[in-house]
Amino acid sequence: MLKMESIHKRFNGAEVLKNVDLKVKKGEAVALIGPSGSGKTTLIRVINGFVLPDNGRVVVRGKEIDYRKKDELRQMRKRIGMIYQLFNLVDRTSAIDNVVSGALGRMDRGFELISSTIGLFSTEVRERAMELLNFVGIEDKAFERVDRLSGGQKQRVAIARALMQEPEILLADEPIANLDPRTSQKIMELLTKINRERGITIITVLHHLESVRDHFHRVVALKDGEICFDGRTDCLTREHISSIYEFAGEYECAAA
């Protein structure tokens, strides 16, 4: 499904990703963990082309992505949904308006392109958006302005927007970092359900290790721009975890 080979990225001289290799099979659910600044977010943004790697190949569905070709990049993005820590919804518009915008990428030809650009969506698209809002459990808030929704409800709208793309891969960048524990639990359950019922491959940056244990069968840990653990969740031992996160401690000792 997704293959990343020796991905290398520098920001202002600092090496953020060092020859990262990652393969994800169709239908897998992968959690990306690691301390702050280890390159998790950069890695996930390389996948949908918001960060261009300096080196390396990204192959999605057997096709290598040429980042210089805008249209190719766009075609790839159509099948990759993304949800964010701060939800990234368009405030002042309704939940359903946000959800239908997920269909914009698909409507890129002829009449559909024109009508969707000026904001006219067919009844089918709107019905589909309604179904998805029903699926994520907030159908009753469809016509509410999103800035009036709670954090958990906003993330549900964002998930519905991503599902509107009919994605094969769903990327999530710390989707529960701004939510309370109970809401976080529910959002993680929803993501798991999406993975199991719809067979959508999920790659999530996550800080909450308990959620990782409860919901993912594979963990990839990044440290200092390199992958230092890649395996089944139940193989991730206490020792692994302390070695992944102890970088800061070691640094303090070294400085002293």
Binding site: N48, F50, R74, Q75, M76, R77, K78, R79, I80, G81, M82, Y84, L86, N88, L89, V90, D91, R92, T93, D97, S101, G102, A103, L104, G105, R106, D108, L113, S116, T117, I118, G119, T123, R126, E127, M130, E131, N134, E139, A142, F143, A158, R161, A162, M164, Q165
Partner: protein, 524 residues
């Protein structure tokens, strides 16, 4: 099954109410626009027929003829001087008036209400109308310009000052009052230090605005470059006209930049710290300004002494106002409003692409965004009356020239405002929509516009208010509306008619101002 449930739900929740309301609002807007188009004689054929004429006019402007450069320099200095003295006198009057019309520093309710209403009244009258009044009363020359700008400045600064004083921190005031100090010393030691930087910022803004306005005041005979522009325009010396326009533009843009730089410095407290060279340049500019204003002092004391009784005579001749023509004047006022509406409409049409191109986060190209910014600066730099004068020569006398003038001048404002609004939006939702594979325009319309729209609407209303005010004086140069009637009534000394016209203009402007302020509060 689920799908049909959702659909009925969709229809139910979407509610016919909001849809009908929205439809009615658009319907109303379109009808108002259509009527305004008709009233301001907008005709695509006039425009197309006028195009070759306008082009030949521009061709005739080149090369600019600077033969009368001595006169241009003198008049430019006089313009700056008129702007400076108008501002200075305005500030002197505004300080007490502003403090009296601020709730927290006014001695009592009577003084508070009187001074507040006085400021409102002064603000409602366009500066050109003041200039017309004083040119008629005390004669052609820069004195009329200084008095006109002074009164307009009081209307502007009086309100700004009062608002600044009303938003100060009350705690230091209380502390000094608690020490048993006199009211005046409370103001001196607790209020002034808090509002001083804000006041200075407003003063600079007023100065910038007044020098710009002084360029146009000459069109009605109130001194400065405008007189020369009007004379040369009338005698079809277009090469001399273009020379004057170029000088005007350079001065206005330079003052705009210096004023923006100084205001930023005052607000951030970074003035005189960035680098030495800049400090010297700034001091040189200030010194030059002071020299010009004193050397070219436009106020002759004799003129004022002789003028005052004439102002009184002029004012007493206005009463009682002539009432026979009121219905006709009201129709004319409606035509004037229509010019303002159409001007705003075209300004919006121009500004949407202009603002987008100028927004750095849309174009990602410094060349394009800077070019668009410079176009906006250029449009903003030329006073609308000057544009109107040029368009009257191009498309002929009538409201259409006024519409074009307002559209171009205020597109400069709106383009800049739009660009700033777009640059301040939250980029995260835009990325999210881009991540769905949306195309450029889809991204703009679905993620950028919804965020910027409330601000756009607020700016549009502000510009509409401003344009209706400005349209009342466009007639002075023959660009349609009630202003023509006004200037004619003054030329033939029918002061009672003048009074009626001014009252009608005042009522309209005040009403539009209130409505616009109310609507702006609602949209944001």
């Amino acid at each position: 099954m689920r799908s049909s449930v959702s659909l009925s739900h969709y229809k139910r929740v979407m509610g016919q109410g909001t849809k009908v309301r929205r439809f009615l609002l658009w319907f109303l807007l379109i009808i108002i626009l259509a009527l305004s188009f008709k009233a301001s004689q907008i005709d695509i054929r006039t425009f197309i027929d006028g195009m070759p004429h306008a082009l030949s006019l521009i061709k005739e402007m080149f090369p600019p003829d600077f033969a009368r450069w001595k006169r241009i320099i003198t008049l430019t200095a006089e313009t700056i001087s008129v702007g400076f003295w108008g501002t200075l006198l305005g500030i002197l009057v505004s300080v007490p008036l502003g403090i009296f019309s601020a709730k927290n520093t006014s001695p009592n309710a009577v003084i508070y209400n009187t001074s507040k209403e006085l400021v409102n009244l002064l603000r409602a009258v366009p500066d050109i109308i003041y200039a017309l009044i004083f040119v008629t009363a005390i004669g052609i020359g820069p004195v009329a310009g200084v008095i006109a700008l002074m009164l307009a400045t009081v209307g502007l600064l009086g309100k700004f000052y009062a608002e600044a004083v009303e938003t100060i921190d009350p705690k230091p005031v209380e502390a000094i009052e608690a020490a048993g100090s006199h009211k005046l010393s409370v103001i001196r030691h607790a209020v002034v230090p808090q509002v001083f930087p804000l006041f200075m910022g407003y003063n600079l803004y007023a100065l910038d605005h007044n020098i710009r306005a002084a360029m146009a005041l000459g069109l009605v005979g109130a001194g400065g470059l405008g007189i020369e522009l009007f004379t040369q325009m009338r005698s079809f010396n277009y090469q001399k006209v273009s020379a004057i326009l170029i000088v005007m533009l350079i001065i206005i843009i330079a003052i705009d930049r210096v004023s923006a730089y100084l205001r930023k410095g005052i607000i951030e407290g970074t003035l005189f710290s960035a680098n030495k060279f800049r400090d010297y340049v700034l001091m040189a500019i200030v010194a030059a300004m002071a020299f010009i204003s004193i050397y070219f002092i436009p106020v002759d004391l004799k003129e004022i002494v002789y003028g005052l009784p004439r102002i009184w005579e002029f004012l007493s001749n206005m009463f009682p106002p002539e009432r026979s023509d009121i219905p006709r004047y009201i129709w004319l006022m409606l035509e004037t409003i229509a010019i303002g509406i159409c001007g705003t409409f075209f300004a919006i049409v121009i500004s949407i692409p202009l603002g987008m191109l100028a927004a750095r986060n849309v174009t990602h190209s410094p060349v394009i965004s800077n070019a668009a910014r410079e176009i906006a600066n250029f449009l903003r730099g030329i006073p609308d009356l000057v544009f109107a004068l040029v368009f009257v020569a191009a498309v002929g006398l009538g409201p259409f020239a006024g519409v074009l003038a307002l559209a171009l001048h205020t597109a400069g404002f709106l383009g800049k405002f739009y660009a700033e609004a777009i640059e301040n939006i939250d980029p995260k939702p835009v990325e999210a929509v881009e991540a769905t594979g949306a195309r450029f325009l889809q991204k703009i319309i679905h993620a950028v516009f919804p965020q910027a729209l409330p601000l756009f609407n607020s700016y549009n209303l502000y510009i509409l208010d401003r344009n209706i005010r400005a349209s009342t004086v466009l007639g002075v140069v023959g660009a349609g509306g009630i202003g023509f009637e006004l200037i004619m009534s003054m030329r033939i000394f029918e002061h009672q008619r003048t009074a009626t016209l001014i009252i009608i203009i005042l009522i309209t402007i005040t009403a539009v101002d209130r409505i616009s302020a109310y609507l702006r509060k609602k949209v944001v």
